[in-house]
């Protein structure tokens, strides 16, 4: 059981504490600043926040005293010479194949997600960014280094530090980057295998899932079984749009993926994926997904009407749960608004810990269940748009 919840919101960081008389939010921290992600390092208790300054660039903030004070850190920065192949949104009437390939020097647009190394890697923290970088710190966040093997991966055109592309770029831009005026890829999911800290998955919008087994020295695509309904070849290796990928911590071969094209799961460490959407109960489109830390076959999603509307299905908010690896889904609505609800839940805004499940929406509503998602109580309805929810 967790006694704390961290919210990253459009207007700051909100910490909920479980008190004798219920969950109580503290006064907002980082007031006025957009927080893209907030989480606690389970190894040393440090709370980490990724700030998405509109004016001053993305920055990290950390608290080593449970949120009493915050320390702003030097920003993560792309090294000189880090380039990427520019992507362009399709333009009506233009034949994109005739457009000359162009390169752009990378600068940090957003820290999208943070993940913590294993217990044997105290001080190791990973950050996924726009435009498509994985950064790692081995000194508790004081310095960060771009993972070059992933940045230089053959699926991105090869090593652009040394020259022009030597292979095709298969990493597409994500619409989530358009808020920053660019159409670039982003890394929003980082999964560190609790059995082996050098075994890491990342998920990229829009490319797919990649895996390293050697601490980031080499990377391989892990998208077999994925289906992309928007490509001529739905089984293409690249071009997938995972919205979020997560792993069961006690049964790490179970991985779950809420993708633009449905809910997918793997029982074999992402060797193969299978689609487990059930559109007849509206389990298909959405952004977040959470898996039970004790049972890799139990997972939760908060479906959205998509992808054309991206809001609660039929004006009623519900959570769907599977207990059998996606073979069947139950939907739960008790305690959630069932009319005139237009909430959508972002990819990092659902979390599960023990029997507790919590999510926050873009309309500033936060809901908690202590019975594995079957009934819900509202923790508040007037919060800023919620970007992330994490049990601490």
């Amino acid at each position: 059981m967790s006694n704390q919840i961290l919210l990253g919101t459009r207007k700051g960081t909100i910490i909920f504490d479980r008190k004798a008389d219920g969950w109580k939010p503290r006064p907002i921290a980082h007031a006025g600043l957009s927080i893209s992600y907030a989480a606690r390092d389970p190894r040393d208790g440090t709370i980490w926040v990724a700030m998405d300054h509109a004016h001053w660039g993305p920055k990290l903030s950390r608290s080593r005293d449970d949120g009493a004070s915050w320390e702003n850190l030097t920003q993560i920065a792309y090294p000189k010479g880090a380039r990427f192949i520019e992507q362009h949104l399709p333009t009506p009437g233009e034949d994109a194949s005739t457009r000359p390939q162009s390169y752009k020097e990378a600068s940090l647009l957003k820290v999208w997600v943070l993940a913590f190394g294993g217990k044997d890697q105290r001080g190791t923290i990973h950050a996924g960014t726009l435009p498509g970088g994985l950064f790692t710190s081995h000194d508790g966040g004081d310095t960060w280094e771009l993972n070059r093997p992933l940045w230089n991966h053959e699926s991105r055109g090869g090593d652009l530090f040394v020259g022009d592309a030597t292979s095709r770029n298969d990493w597409g831009g994500t619409p989530a980057a358009m808020a920053y005026g660019e159409f670039v890829p982003g890394i929003h999911s980082i999964v560190v295998d609790p059995r082996d800290s050098n075994h890491i998955f990342v998920a990229v919008s829009c490319a797919g899932v990649l895996e390293t087994k050697d601490g980031g020295k080499t990377w391989q695509g892990r998208n077999r079984g994925m289906l992309n309904d928007y490509l001529p070849n739905p089984e293409a290796e690249w071009g997938h749009d995972p919205h979020f990928v997560t792993q069961c911590t006690t049964q790490p071969d179970y991985l779950w993926q809420q993708n633009h094209t449905g809910v997918f799961m793997s029982e074999n460490g992402a060797e193969t994926w299978k689609r487990v959407s059930h559109p007849e109960v509206a389990v298909h489109f959405g952004f977040p997904i959470a898996v039970d830390e004790r049972d890799g076959r139990r997972a939760w999603v908060v479906p959205a009407k998509g992808d054309d509307e991206r809001m609660a299905v039929g004006g009623g908010l519900f959570v769907a749960r599977t207990e059998d690896g996606g073979a069947s889904w139950q939907t739960f609505r008790k305690g959630l608004p069932q009319e005139h609800a237009y909430d959508v839940v972002y990819r990092h805004a659902l979390d599960a810990r023990g029997d507790s499940v919590c999510f926050g929406s873009t309309t500033g509503n936060v809901y908690l269940s202590d019975d594995r998602g079957e009934t819900w109580c509202c923790l508040g309805t007037h919060f800023p748009p919620v970007h992330s929810v994490r049990f601490a």
Partner: protein, 90 residues
């Protein structure tokens, strides 16, 4: 030396930041000196490529700087430099 003024919002992150004289023959040199005085300051104004951030403006006198890529605009000892945030957000 050029006289430099700041949006008050930067004082939230650099409480000791005060307007005053800062040596430099270009806007870049002024920013470099401010970085020396207030470590981390430059990353709030320019990105890691040295480009002025999208929602930041620098004026020399009444004119916005021309070179947002390298901040090569010249400044003289009589100039007043303003480092401001663009109006945006909600």
């Amino acid at each position: 030396m050029p006289h430099v003024s700041f949006t008050r919002h930067l004082q939230r992150f650099f409480p000791n930041l005060t307007e005053g004289e800062v040596p430099g023959a270009t806007v870049r040199e002024v920013i470099d000196e401010l970085e020396r005085r207030h470590p981390g300051f430059a990353s709030y104004v320019v990105d890691e490529t040295g480009r002025l951030r999208r929602h930041v403006n620098i004026f020399v006198g009444d004119e916005p700087i021309f070179d947002r890529e390298r901040l090569g605009d010249a400044v003289t000892s009589d100039d007043h430099v303003f480092i401001l945030q663009a109006l945006s957000g909600g």
